[in-house]
Symmetry: C2
Subunit: 337 residues, 2 copies
């Protein structure tokens, strides 16, 4: 059995019994029922994914996968391709946004070079990679996720870096969601209206040339995806199999999660959407995943910055579950609502 | 000069020069310009309020003002009035939501009894308090805020506790915003539709009986407000005078902030809205204050829980400002966008 098949076979989704126990515990806390809204739902989701109410301290990891994209040669980004490698160095020396945010959140940060320099082929003229390469990158992600799980990590926040990768993500989402290309193409790192129009044309060519089959998620990934997208898809799949919580960042991570969800719909039950970005395709992806974003701050950086920024909210939700007094323990009158 | 007049005379609002310096510093960081959206705006707001770019570590305090409301006797809450006192004890022993969240955020927590037991008079039959009492409670808030400022606090998160206080806040907002009572009355701690209709009728009686003048914020506060609302208004005013950042919680804190803003419009420049609650009046209050909420998680607990939950986002924003590498220091190609 290949690692991918093995991982898919092990995915069960969150546990309903633990979810009910977590909800009951929260309902006994000294506050009107449901009055912490989404924070309560998050605690229930984390508990039911981890299959325990004993969650503190929440051990969090941030995985940033970096790769280059052949389609960058079409001029679809405001930044030149060498920025992918330059940013890799910036990640290593701790100067990038995600480094700062991971330090503040107390999360371990893992930078993975999945193909910087030796990137994908240009999707505007042919497939990004072979199907074998796509499965290989997914399985590298699976292996990486297994290491995190073996280390005792509870929560994995996903991030990416790769000049040109909003173009690949747009192609992937247009194919899988069967929506118009213009509805999923945005400014990326900072295109103007002409730049976005050019990006739309490039994605349309990529879809015409490759004609990916929406019913074949790995085929779509190989045709118009990217190495970091495949890797993150693998991380998300094995995280679900190993009962880790997955925190999504922006549009590109969302596209990788969408491929994972098409391979195994149950994975969305252990996912948390950190934020909704300014990329127009992101909201559509979150709708397709059935996830409500925690933050709406106009973020559009990527790197896992939004996912990492949201990690303290997850820690707060489990603290509420574990540390608050109950009506009974505190002697507070319960109106039962 | 009375403390209130002195405080009002000292309010200057954020400093434009520091704001420009903070924006310039952020624009030099290794990320596309503006790509951290609201997080960048928050860092600029904090820096321009504190008048420095040297902000770490951000010292944060949570102030929870508690008081009783005579209008609770009209049956406007799902909980009996004694819950105010019971929750005061729960705050002291650390079991309430805000206690848990303040510990996680590393914020000092200050619980202030501004009139528990000896609450306001029933606004449905006459004024909540005399004008003298309103000014007295505002000035107690001013004195408290001065202590926090003397202790070197940078950020004050505001919270409240008081059975019946969404009713007082609704009356206050309806009067000051000149909007229909039903647009600012919600479920509070958990009223059903009949309960809300009764609450609307009670607020309409309060406004008819007291006929507060919308041009006289202190008069409105005395007529239909509450002791904790007056206290928090005072905390917010002196915080602005002392150049502290004020983090707003939900509808009730928003109503107190609205009174402060009517007394001195410049105070809103140093305010941050942590979240928008499910109370229908809250969004209107935030619009009137010109503030965009950071979180929209369906919170409706009060206590300062939402404001405290948001504190790590503020710390993250100043970490971005101070710790990220610049394009120059990291040797990353800058596309200038």
């Amino acid at each position: 059995v290949r690692p991918l098949e093995d991982t898919l076979a092990r995915i069960e989704g969150p546990d309903a019994e633990t979810a009910a126990a977590a909800r009951k515990a929260i309902d006994e806390k000294t506050k009107p029922r449901g009055s912490l809204g989404g924070l309560e739902d998050m605690a229930v989701r984390i508990a039911s994914t981890r299959r325990t109410l004993d969650l503190q301290p929440l051990r969090t990891a941030v995985v940033v996968a970096a790769a280059d994209h052949g389609v960058a040669s079409e001029g679809v980004s405001a930044y030149p391709q060498e920025v992918t490698r330059e940013m890799l160095a910036n990640f290593e020396t701790g100067g990038a946004a995600v480094c700062v945010l991971a330090r503040r959140a107390g999360a371990s940060l893992h930078i993975v070079d999945v193909g910087v320099g030796e990137g994908t082929s240009n999707i505007a003229v042919g497939p990004a990679m072979s199907r074998r390469d796509a499965v290989d990158r997914i399985e590298r992600g699976i292996a990486f996720s297994r290491e995190l799980s073996d280390e005792g990590i509870d929560v994995v926040a996903l991030g990416e870096m790769g000049i040109g990768n909003t173009t690949a993500a747009a192609a992937l989402c247009a194919a899988l969601l069967r929506v118009g290309v213009s509805t999923v193409c945005g400014a990326g790192t900072g295109l103007d209206a002409d730049g976005i129009a050019h990006k739309v044309a490039v994605v349309e060519r990529a879809l015409a040339v490759n004609a990916p089959d929406p019913e074949d998620p790995v085929g779509v990934l190989a045709a118009v995806g990217g190495f970091e997208l495949a890797f993150l898809c693998g991380v998300a799949l094995e995280a679900a199999a190993a009962r880790l919580v997955v925190v999504l960042d922006g549009f590109i991570v969302g596209a990788a999660a969408l491929v994972a969800a098409r391979l195994s719909p149950a994975v969305t039950g252990s996912m948390i959407a950190a934020h909704v970005s300014t990329e127009p395709g992101h909201r559509r992806v979150l709708q397709a995943l059935g996830l409500e974003p925690l933050l709406d701050l106009g973020l559009r950086l990527g790197e896992g910055s939004g996912a990492t920024l949201a990690l303290p909210l997850l820690s707060a939700s489990v603290a509420i579950l574990e540390e608050m007094a109950t009506f009974e323990s505190a002697g507070v009158t319960d109106a039962g609502r």
